[in-house]
Amino acid sequence: MATSDSDAGGTDSEAGGDPGPDAEGAGSEHRQPESGSRPDDGNAVALRAVRKTYYLGEPVHALDGVDLVIPRGSYTAVMGPSGSGKSTLLNLIGCLDTPTEGEVWVNDREVSALSQRERTRVRGQEVGFVFQTFNLMPKLTAAENVALPLVFEGIDKRERIDRATELLDEVGLADRAGHRPNELSGGQRQRVAIARALANDPAIILADEPTGNLDQETGTQIMGLFQRLHDEGNTILMVTHERPIAEYAQRVVHVLDGTIERVEEIESPRRVESDGP
């Protein structure tokens, strides 16, 4: 698996191809976020004074002035009560949504200023989404689901099959390639979803309560998988409301009423003993 670093050089030519000084795979594991860093200095993600307001009669500030930097190769958890703006934050980074104010940078590119078309490309190429409800295509097999982002990128069939096979193998589901989602357990579905999120070698994996629909043991397996992906150099941003799950990350961003309440560094993140799925 490529690191997020080489991915940046490979897919984002418009950002000037600056891989940045950090993000040497697992070496960046204990890197601290620099509060004064510029948005375009090689971080995976940076948010500047981001506000998202919904107008439903009364304006609702889902996010109310958020500054956040996610360095390449980092593993960050986002916690907060329901309705505090966690999903909104992820959707903005994942280009599913646009901020009302402020800037969102992904892989050294200001995505909040892009056209809808280009934001769709960023979704397909720079980020990988993992959802609480898996969101797999019900009529496609596991392998086809994993290959779906490649379809929209115009990768040819042979390459898609190779890549999907490789990724399913990586998440331990090589023997389930031809199964439909309804023939898989919840944990298996989430692993297919994770494989799909990795298909385009994204700069960041965005996971919105990935263990929310899973029992504890299966959730731990998924955390084991994230841990391995992080060890391999991937950048992960994960929303959760379970403290034990958040402790697998290097730091926890606490969100309250659309603002970042505090950022907590985890001294020694929890580790899953046997991370093989």
Partner: protein
């Protein structure tokens, strides 16, 4: 997104709702089949009719006086206005070879032996009527004698059927009864002449000489004598090249100097038609008829396309979440549009392709029933497929467009 992959995904979507897709396709099948059936029948009917008429053209001009502005066939609404003097004058026009009058003798019945058969009319004409050689057995009657020619259909009404030499008794509408000898039997397959209509041969026809049978007379305005007067006249030109000039001559005579011009009712007009005119008129009529029936069939095609639109709208709503997923992993609006449009086109095209054989089968059955030889309109098969695709595009456009505009966040939240 490559086309092959879109097609594969669309096929899978269509197949995942077999019954629904099948019913939708059925709607298009019925529409296309209806169009193909009627177009095939129309084409075949035209070929058949024109084959009959066009097959044996003669340098004839069919002349009658009918209500102004009406477009009926030869002799429609004809009034008896052409006097014997008119016939003589017409025969003198340059390029005219002969003039054959035709009148109706109202009858009640014909008897032969012990059989009596109801027959509404006998056709009074001159022996020249049979110059084309349509008498298969015997000869044409002679003017001034009590002789008749019957067609095979009329002969067959009797048991044993009438043959040359038989004696028949014509009961006239006036109540009188006249004995006559059958001198000829006309071949049924011979067109009875334009005034007998296209299916003339399939009706029982009895021909009699105008003298002595035809009794409709009028005082000729030109000569003051009482003369026979006929509703329809066939002017035979010397050859095809002479037809146009003869037509002009006939028209000029009729309007300017004829008895007919003075006898004709006010809002009546003379019709002088060549075979070619009749074919043109017939062709026009058939085209109108075919277009009308095809138009009705097209309505069922429109209904079929509404079915596609309906199913596509349901499909888009049902798959809102899938659309959200695809967009979340990088599907452009264009990709989503393409997917749904291909799905709609697939339904339309499959419907059209299946509709063609069904339509041909329908035309075949109908053709068997009415005894029509089929002429397959191959170009319409291509048109049908194109229309099927078009119907898919038109019906799928709005649903596909609305799918492509779906907001991914809303779609992912959709239950």
């Amino acid at each position: 997104m490559e086309f092959a992959e879109s097609l594969r995904l669309s096929v899978r979507a269509v197949r995942s709702h077999r019954l629904r897709s099948a019913l939708t396709v059925l709607g298009v099948v019925i529409g296309v089949a209806a169009v193909i059936t009627f177009v095939t029948l129309g084409t075949s009917l035209r070929a058949d009719v024109l084959g009959q008429v066009g097959g044996e053209r003669s340098p004839n001009l069919y002349v009658w006086a009918g209500p102004e502005g009406q477009n009926g066939g030869p002799g429609a609404g004809a009034q008896p206005v052409f006097t014997t003097r008119d016939l003589d004058q017409l025969a003198n026009i340059e390029g005219v070879a002969s003039v054959v009058p035709r009148g109706i003798v109202p009858t009640a019945a014909i008897s032969a032996g012990n059989d009596t058969v109801a027959q509404r009319q006998a056709i009074a004409t001159s022996p020249a009527y049979f110059d084309s050689g349509s008498v298969a057995d015997g000869r044409a009657f002679r003017q001034g004698s009590r002789e008749v020619v019957v067609n095979e259909r009329a002969a067959g009404l009797f048991d044993p059927s009438l043959s040359v030499g038989a004696t028949v008794s014509l009961q006239l509408a006036s109540g009188d009864s006249v004995e006559a000898e059958v001198v000829g039997v006309q071949n049924s397959s011979a067109a009875g002449g334009a005034f007998e209509g296209l299916d003339g041969g399939s009706q029982p026809l009895v021909f009699v000489p105008t003298d002595p049978f035809y009794r409709t007379t009028v005082e000729s305005p030109a000569t003051g004598e009482r003369q026979r007067v006929y509703p329809t006249v066939t002017v035979v030109a010397e050859d095809f090249a002479a037809v146009p000039d003869a037509k002009v001559g006939v028209q000029a005579y009729l309007t300017n100097r004829s008895d007919a011009a003075r006898l004709v009712p006010d809002d009546y007009a003379f019709a002088v038609r060549s075979d070619e005119d009749l074919v043109d008129q017939l062709q026009e009529l058939l085209t109108t008829l075919t277009n009308f029936v095809t138009g009705i069939a097209v309505i069922s095609l429109v209904v079929g396309s509404i079915g596609i639109a309906n199913v596509m709208l349901v499909s888009v709503t049902e798959r809102t979440r899938e659309i959200g997923i695809m967009k979340a992993v990088g599907a452009q609006n264009r990709d989503v549009l393409q997917l749904f449009l291909i799905e709609a086109v697939l339904l339309g095209a499959v419907g059209a392709i299946l509709g063609i054989p069904v339509g041909v089968a329908g035309a075949y059955l109908a053709g068997e029933y009415i005894g029509l030889d089929l002429v397959l309109p191959y170009e319409w098969f291509a048109i049908a497929v194109a229309v099927g695709v078009l119907v898919g595009v038109v019906a799928g456009l709005y649903p596909a467009w609305s799918a492509s505009k779906t907001d991914p966040i809303d779609a992912l939240r959709y239950e």
